[in-house]
Amino acid sequence: MALRELSSLEKFVGLKRQKKISTQGERKVPVLQNNNGSSLIGLVTISSHLVSEAKKTELLGESVEQRAVVQQWLEYRLTRLDNCSQDEVNIILTELNEYLVDKVYLAGNSITLADALMYYGIHHIISELAVQQKEKYLNVTRWFDHIQHYPGVRHHLPPVIVLRNRVYQSNQH
């Protein structure tokens, strides 16, 4: 999972040469082996490193503030979203939905690493949602659809269909 995600990210930031990345431990934490023998551990760490190496540091945030917000959502992705229980899923969707009410991206006014990794991490949840739930979490769905159509992001994941018209109105029956 983490490996496919990182390889999609490499393509997204335009890195040509594939890096030597493996996983370790029960939780399958990714490890990047550098040429000089040193290594980096962890999805966020490696992703941030790849972004810097591709000279796309704007993806980490262009201001101090945006950088902090990016890191915060990356941490949220790792600590809250990954391996979360079914009960947690609804809480997470509610929180994100609330947060995204007046936002296009997770951090600032441009796409960042936070959007990409959150998208990779939440894909399996969104793709399982029924239409009704997609409408319930309208802001998440809107953000998700936007990110999956952002050039170069999607790669290894199948597109999730988001209907443009609302199916379930409150006055339905």
């Binding site: 999972m1 939780r27 934490v29 980096l40 551990i41 962890g42 999805l43 966020v44 760490t45 941030s48 490193h49 810097s52 101090v64 503030e65 950088r67 902090a68 917000v69 890191q71 915060q72 941490e75 949220y76 790792l78 600590t79 391996n83 979360c84 229980s85 809480i91 509610t94 929180e95 609330e98 947060y99 009410v101 894909h123 399996h124 793709s127 399982e128 949602l129 029924a130 239409v131 009704q132 269909i161 209907l163 006055n171 339905q172 029956h173």
Partner: protein, 846 residues
């Protein structure tokens, strides 16, 4: 900038220490643990920062990072890695350890919990020559880790291992005035006891994290025990001997004592619409796969369906084509029948609703409802065209929208603003047939008193939900109807084409289709056998499965059951309701009028075999969520799954037998490796059965493909084509591998039967497999048996599938993609059958 912290919260030590250390200016406010600062989070989370821009930060690590950056420090990869480690590896263990130490008072246990994680930090430090974690100076990682570890490392009772280097580093950081100050503010006194209040407010720890995500099932291999492998090997070697002989289907199929009696229906397709692929997978094909599977399982199963023929839409169509409604029905019934035959839908009976039985049974139910006081009379305002001498159904009127003034609003809805309209509210209404202005007339109608039946319905639903299989959407839609409260529903209409209402004062009226269409299931069965009541008035013996698309759910879960409950005649009510979501066409909707999409009658003109259509439609079956049909994907799945995976395996297995062993299945000497693949295949078979028993049609198909994937790997690793040229041992080995493989192929023919009946039969013919092998292997919980014994002679093997090349697909995609010249003017076919759509629309106004 404003910082919110609370006492006794170790996360707040981090930010306060960082604030002191960096010297950044900031307002500070002390709050209680329960106070909520960040509005969008469901639980109160502290520390939190409110930035001048209005942005809120709620992660302590991100706040520390922010403070250090404002203070002019750059965040390095190593810092980042330590922060990530702290959040993902250390925190979960730490919280657990603190919980055990503070709330349960077991300090030694807490120390043990932490050992492994902290030894990683010890090792990390051993690779460093610097004073601090990342540099010679204190950086963000030092502050964060130090604060996190403070309660543990400052407590002498807690032994988490030797940790020389960690303790050395900890001591150096402890000397910073910033750290002392932060601790004094947040954790005064003994650190551990200061945490108590905070820890009690934390949500219960979920130590058991969910390991395998459902989306990763493809990657997750089933881990088998030695015992499982041994048992699978023995079962396999036992062969077919003990299995029973298949019972041939004799019509009429009737419930039998001591058997599992299953009655399957699929939603009745509306007669004058040619069904599109979405309709086919949503109803008839899904029910067909399940019925074929059920028959293989040895259930006593009856599958009935038919065309729904009454109603305004038929009258409308008849006017349009200048035929009588009966002629229209006859014409379109033949089209439906031909389409389902081509798709190999194996109905026990495919009937229609315009029959004498329909009238008798509907009127019988009607009278019973009337006698029992479940019907009530009311008047309804309707538009009537004096020129055409009839009341106008909503779609027969056009006028100016009362909301947005759109001049061509329909009687039920405005196409421009989308709002629902009551036909009598239309400004300047016009009859669509003659163009004259209709007048408002009141008309008497009968209503089914649903509120009176609600209690009984809920009681029954509760039981059916808990004992049967209802798809999640079916339960959800039903619950939302009940939650909103039921209202009386009109069951009569001012029409001619329908089942007549058998009361003198209702002479010119017929039953509203939603009332009598589901009765079609009963009357169609009655046309099949005069013993129809053995199925339909026999809830003790019969299990009823209804298949449909989700828009039809309320009629099957609420309205129709109410009619049957109210009739009080011991009717069989639905036990399992299987509803699909919608199938889209290349990311848009199927539309007849725009010529978009593939319709049932065109599928055969594509040259793609019916079995491949069945395969792909079940592969993308909108199970649990909407899905879409895509030509490129169809070609991809045909080429990768059918040709390269499934077809390739079955063909190789058969070819080895014919080429290397003169068409006779060779001897088997099972080695561990063989038993392993047998066990793997047996496991997939069990999954397949568990899934199909729960009507997870799409998921079960994946198991079939997994079996052939395992088979291909097995052949690839064992290379029988090389071994056959080797010595005696090698040749024997080639024999065993070939023999196991060809038996897997035989099992595949059985598992494919419900999905691809023709291909399944072809495989069995090629392998000359015994007729009863499918039902033997799919019985009970599923057994992978050696159905082709040593010496069995197989037939001629030939390829099963053909490649679909991209040019061919591109031509088809263009052909069916829409905008194909001036389209015939016909009504829009939406993904939902118009019957239900119309009814819902009509009812909304009441």
């Amino acid at each position: 900038m404003k910082l919110f912290v609370s006492e006794g919260n170790p996360q707040c030590v981090k930010v306060l220490a960082a604030l002191e250390h960096t010297g950044v200016k900031c307002d500070l406010q002390l709050l209680g643990h329960e106070e909520k600062v960040v509005s969008f989070l469901s639980r109160p989370v502290l520390p939190a920062v409110l930035l001048p821009s209005g942005q809120q930060l709620f992660s302590a690590n991100a706040i520390c990072q922010y403070l250090f950056e404002v203070g002019g420090k750059e965040i390095t990869d190593t810092s980042r890695q330590l922060l990530e480690w702290e959040a993902t590896e250390l925190q979960p263990v730490l919280l657990q350890a603190l919980h055990v130490a503070v709330l349960q008072g077991k300090s030694s246990e807490a120390g043990t919990l932490l050992k492994v994680t902290l030894s990683w930090l010890e090792q990390f430090l051993s690779g460093k020559s610097t004073q601090f974690l990342t540099a010679e100076t204190v950086e963000v990682a030092d502050i964060v880790l130090w604060s996190a570890l403070y309660p543990i490392l400052s407590d002498s009772d807690l032994n988490a291992g030797e940790l020389h280097l960690v303790r050395g580093w900890f001591k150096r950081v402890s000397q910073l005035p910033a750290c002392t100050k932060a601790v004094q503010a947040i954790l005064p006194g003994k650190a551990l006891s200061a945490l108590k209040n905070f820890l009690q407010k934390q949500p219960a720890l979920h130590t058991q994290r969910r390991e395998n995500l459902p989306s990763e099932t493809e990657e997750a291999e089933h881990v088998m025990t030695e015992e499982e492998i041994e048992v699978a090997g023995q079962t396999f070697s036992g062969g077919l001997a003990e299995s029973r002989v298949t019972v041939e289907r004799k019509h009429p199929v009737l419930p039998k004592e001591g058997k599992r009696n299953v009655l399957v229906t699929s939603a009745l397709p509306y007669v004058n619409n040619v069904p599109h692929l979405g309709n086919i997978i949503g109803c008839v094909l899904s029910a067909d796969v399940f019925s074929r599977y059920g028959r293989l399982r040895g259930w006593n199963l009856l599958y009935v369906c038919g065309t729904d023929e009454y109603g305004t839409a038929t009258e409308n169509k008849a006017l349009e084509e200048g035929l009588t409604p009966q002629q229209i029905c006859d014409k379109y019934f033949a089209i439906h029948d031909a389409i389902y035959k081509w798709f190999q839908i194996d109905f026990d009976y495919f009937g229609r609703t315009t029959t004498q039985q329909q009238t008798e049974i509907s009127q019988n139910i009607f009278f019973r409802l009337l006698e029992r006081g479940f019907l009530q009379e009311d008047t309804v305002e309707q538009l009537r065209c004096e020129h055409c001498q009839r009341f106008l159904a909503d779609r027969f009127v056009e006028g100016v929208c009362p909301h947005c003034k759109y001049p061509e609003a329909r009687g039920d809805q405005c196409d421009k603003c989308g709002r629902l309209i009551n036909a009598v509210e239309l400004k300047d209404p016009l009859c669509k047939v003659c163009g004259k202005t209709p007048v408002i007339r009141t008309s008497k109608h009968l209503f089914l008193n649903l509120p009176k039946l609600e209690g009984e319905l809920e009681k029954w639903l509760e039981q059916s939900f808990s004992t049967g299989d209802w798809t999640a959407n079916a339960k959800q839609i039903t619950r939302s109807w009940l939650r909103d409260g039921l209202k009386p529903r009109c069951i009569t209409r001012d029409l001619k084409w329908g089942t007549p209402v058998p009361l003198e004062e209702y002479r010119d009226k017929v039953f509203y289709v939603w009332f009598d269409a589901p009765i079609g299931y009963l009357s169609i069965t009655a046309n099949y056998t005069s013993d129809w009541e053995k199925w339909w008035k026999n809830p003790q013996q019969v299990e009823l499965y209804n298949f449909m698309a989700k828009d039809n759910v309320p009629f099957h879960s609420v309205v129709f059951p109410c009619s049957l409950l109210g009739a009080q005649d011991n009717y069989t009510l639905v036990n399992n309701l299987i509803a699909t979501e919608y199938l889209n066409y290349e990311d848009t909707k199927f539309s007849k009028s725009r010529g978009v999409g593939v319709f049932g009658d065109m599928a055969k003109d594509t040259g793609i075999p019916s079995d491949v259509w069945r395969f792909y439609l079940t592969y993308v079956r909108p199970e649990g969520q909407d899905s879409s049909f895509s030509w490129a994907d169809l070609a991809l799945k045909n080429n990768s799954e059918l040709l390269n995976n499934l077809g390739n395996f079955i063909n190789r297995a058969g070819m080895f037998v014919s080429k290397f062993f003169n068409g006779c299945v060779p001897e088997i000497v099972l080695q561990d490796e063989d038993k392993r693949i047998i066990a793997q295949v047996a496991w997939e078979l069990k999954q397949y059965i568990q899934l199909l028993d729960k009507v997870r049609i799409r998921d079960a198909l994946k198991c079939v493909l997994n079996v052939s994937r395992h088979g291909n790997q097995y052949i690839q690793i064992n290379e029988p084509w090389k071994k056959i040229k080797g010595g005696d041992e090698d040749r024997k080995r080639a024999g065993t591998v070939t023999s196991v493989s060809v038996n897997v192929a035989c099992l595949l023919s059985a598992m494919l039967e419900p999905y691809m009946p023709t291909v399944s039969q072809t495989i069995r013919t090629q392998l000359q497999a015994p007729d009863n092998c499918a039902s033997a292997m799919l019985g009970a919980e599923g057994y992978f048996l050696r159905s082709l014994p040593t010496g069995h002679r197989i037939g001629t093997v030939s390829p099963l599938f053909q490649k679909l090349d991209s040019e061919q697909i591109e031509i088809l995609r263009k052909k069916f993609g829409g905008q194909q010249g001036p389209s015939k003017k016909s009504s829009t076919t939406e993904t939902k059958p118009p019957t239900a759509a119309e009814h819902i629309a009509n009812q909304r106004k009441k």
